[in-house]
Subunit: 148 residues, 2 copies
């Protein structure tokens, strides 16, 4: 397994262990991780710290040129907000753990010329399935859907 | 002037006084402000706390139905990230102070059925002009563009 994807998955598992939504992400520039994070809705009552947003925030303020030579890894297909952040900063490549649980705005990324790779990794799928089975309301909240 | 837009403008001015990027936002539900904030790139070295994101975060975790009956006010046309957050949560209406300084993803909002109202308020335009004249690099950084 790719070491960067592995770190994104480690971040997802860390969130799961914390009782949070198991989605992790890393930002990689020139073969080095410059940011990593995971969904913190439950841990910090945050409505904006999805995994990708947390990874971007943890990387700190970077020059535009850095983002434009970076790759973002995320364990789940990026939602509209995270997609927008990727487009804002011009990150040219996104590696996605899976898009079976949730299909984000991959079409919009591609429309803007972003390279999108979907692994459909079984571990990512199972982590999400496990979380959603136990916490359907928190998951729906995270994607802006009605709680059942 | 609309009281909600006025509060968004007050938030923008507050950011300006703090030495930050002068963009403010409020989230309004049923005639009540439930979140407000401003750009915090400079104040908190944040790459995700644009005005709209800060307003959403300050509102805390809300039920999906709340967002779907809310209006977001922002002093500047929303960038792709903030647009994505508006779409994620299904906020049906956006009131924008101005789009002369920066034209965000208004077309994408409209494509998704979001009502978009642009005021082109002179005070918003002047606040941004003043900030950008003195801090062109910080502004470029905020929209993912190369520093000159």
């Amino acid at each position: 397994m790719d070491q960067f994807f592995e770190e994104a998955l480690t971040q997802a598992k860390k969130s799961f262990q914390e009782g949070g939504i198991p989605i992790g992400s890393v930002l990689v520039h020139n073969g080095q991780i410059i940011g990593k994070g995971h969904n913190r809705r439950i841990q910090r009552d945050s409505v904006i710290l999805h995994g990708e947003m947390d990874a971007l925030e943890s990387a700190g303020r970077q020059e535009a040129a850095i983002y434009k030579q970076s790759v973002i890894y995320t364990t789940l297909s990026p939602c509209p907000m995270c997609t927008g952040a990727i487009l804002l900063y011009g990150i040219p490549k996104v590696v996605i753990g899976e898009n079976k649980t949730f299909l984000g705005s991959e079409a919009l990324l591609k429309q803007h010329g972003v390279e999108v790779i979907v692994l459909n990794n079984q571990e990512c799928i199972e982590l999400m399935r496990d979380f959603i089975q136990k916490n359907p309301n928190e998951w729906n909240e995270d994607i802006g859907e009605e709680v059942l």
